[in-house]
Amino acid sequence: MAEKLICAHCGEDCGKDPVIYDGKPFCCQGCRTVYQLLEENKLGQYYTLMDIPQGVKTDENASSSSRYAFLDKEEIKRKLLEFSNEQFSRVTFYIPAIHCSSCIWLLENLHRMHPGIVTSMVNFNKKEVSVVFRPKNISLRQLADLLDSIHYAPEITLEQTEGQKGRRNSRILILQLGVAGFCFGNTMLFSFPEYLAIHEPIDGPLHQLFNLINLFLGTLAMLYGGRDYFLSAFKNLKHGILNLDLPISIGMLALWGQSTWMVLGEGRNGYFDSLAGFVFLLLIGKWYQSKTYDALSFERDYKAYFPVAVTRVNDSGVEESTLLKEIKPGDILRIRNKELIPADGILRSGVGTIDYSFVTGESKPVAVSEGQAVFGGGRQIGESIYVEVSAAVDESKLTSLWNQHHDDENEKKSSLQPLITKVSHYFVYGLLSVSLITLIFWLVFNPSLAVRAFVSVLIVACPCAIALTLPFTFGNTRRYFGHKGFYLKKPEVVEQLAHADTIVFDKTGTLTRPDVYDVKYFGRKLSEEERMVFRSLFMHSTHPLSQAVYKYLGEGDATLSLENYRELTSRGLLAVYKGKRVMAGSAEFTQLPGFERDDDSSPRVYLRLGDEPIGFFEIGARLREGIDILISEVAQDYELHLISGDTSATGLPIGKWFAPENVRFRLSPVEKRDYIRELVNRGKRVIMIGDGLNDAGALSAGLAGISIADRVYYFTPASDAILEADSLPILPRFLQMSRKNMGVVRASLLISLIYNIVGLSFAARGLLSPLIAAILMPASSVSVVAFTTVATSLLAHFYLKKSPRII
């Protein structure tokens, strides 16, 4: 075999027919064009920034010249443009292909490719590029086409055109963090005399000035930095819920009140340094927790899957690009090869071969003839079809399933009470009783100490350490998971994963690969000429089975010219070679009695040359790598189920992996969801692992839903976590580590409990000195943060480092 040629643009294998340009090999014309374009604009440096060329390859499925035609519409422009006047416009595109520093470099040099572009700026984490351009020189559509032509296709979804999400929330948290940190540092500075017990030179007015500054800073930290805790505690209290924010708020108020009294009433230093430090630490925990994967979306529904605009044929027969939401019943739409049918309708002309796999999970395309119904969400494979719309997009049968999702959210929350909720419950009651007992005790025995002891208890018992435990334990774990290709929506998902006892797998696209097939040949040996004949026959068909066989036969490079080539939808292919009929397709079509079909439902493609039956190909799904190890590892700890929209799963050792009563086929998306719900009702804690829209209901019904994706930045259904398909084999490690995490949380809670008991024993006796308060409170928080961080890092080292990531 010849040495592999690597494409100079995208780094992929060039295969049999490399395109040679400028002395360099390219895998396809597309890559060559991009190379040429970059060279002409003196942007060849793109290729030297990385050691291995790692350009991006465009999604072949999506390219079409009028793909961005809808960007010429005023309404869309108005929604997408962030700023626009006569001279300049600014737009931000989401580009999933951004993946390396070369991408940043190229996209920030866009102005060299077109004089109409003024500047462009990349946000790598969000995979966005902001472009300032002159609308007179380059239109929005031309800009999108330009990006597409260099293989950085912007992804514009319906959601985006329905209003931008606010991105300024994180700024407020950063501001709060900064202000609290500022107050913390400066109160410590002005408390220095107190720390060092220097009284002699600075007592008197200067000391009081320092105290007043501290009063100001502490108040600022509490009111600005701690604002959200008060609001949350108040809101929850109104609904009768006691959460951890309540003791935090009480603690802050008590500390503030006590310190204010000390400064104003007694002329002494208060505990404002502790107060500001406390707010600062809490906010750090919150910030750590709020770090999200900006470029990933965990909330996508069918809208993200649908295009923004489709091609409509108007009354005078002219095709025009129309917004999806303007589609009315009665409109005629043209659906090209691999385009999505956006709404329910009736096929008016053309031959429909529609792949509903993403919506229903059924992997075999469905043949539809003129006059029959087609459903929104299907993808046409083959020639263009014309569809008359019969229902608006929102009312289509398949998509309406996903509009019910939001009801599920509340149900799910109640199914498992997080550990922290239980702990804070006990904590709040414990704290209230201890403080009241203290108050009553001292009122009886020594009233002069009563208020002080009461306030001291409230101060010391402040659950800072408890509040920091979860953000740091789960936040840190989530970070390690992210390194290995497992992205959690929220840190709390770790806890959900830890409690699960049942795993439900989807079959198509989850256990098996969606795009690769195992082709097996049965029959007499093909001669070299025959192989080429059939290869040429399959070459022109876009049907997935034909493509699979074509690849299987694809060793030779020559093709023969066949006469009278015809493709009969869902039946087979037909041509004439040297006066003989060449046929390939279903058993009925090729009329081959010699190969009777048994009940086996793996699709087969039969071959016939003239009158002679040759044999058949059996095309089975291919398992993802490492599935057998995965299943055998999780089988020890979890009850396993398999649900699929497919009719059966021949060729997979299902019986070995799953108990027969736990396997279900032919499930519609709704039945999948109900299956999970039934498991939940039986008391199972279910993790659902799926990949497509057809699993979206099931993903949200269980304790946790994990969606598998080969390309995480492209479409994934709404779920709690996204797992890169390559990391699927190490899923058991993730689950084990989640369970160990609960141990870390418990240990950390124990540590803070010990601190609390020590502190309370001083406070309840009325002996809390400023020194003890100043040591105990930061010490408990810092030790909890240190313990959880170190413990989770060790766990990650133990569970994740040793498993090399398969790329």
Binding site: R90, M121, F124, R171, F182, N186
Partner: protein, 68 residues
């Protein structure tokens, strides 16, 4: 002792100045993306002449398009 008073107030005012600077930096979006600039700075400038940039307009535009 008045020297401490002067020093302390000068220090405090300086710190307040930094707080204001921090507020401005946050509001102008400097913390929105903390990764890309670290890559951007490593890229060499291209030495071919720039075809069309008019910096004055761009600055004006950026300030206009950044409300708040």
């Amino acid at each position: 002792m008045s020297i401490i008073l002067i020093l302390a107030s000068a220090g405090f005012l300086l710190a307040l100045g930094f707080l204001v600077a921090f507020y401005w930096a946050t509001k102008s979006g400097q913390f929105d993306d903390t990764y890309t600039p670290s890559v951007r700075i490593l890229h060499d400038e291209l030495h071919t002449p720039e075809p069309n940039t008019d910096p004055s307009h761009v600055n004006e535009l950026n300030s206009k398009s950044n409300p708040s």
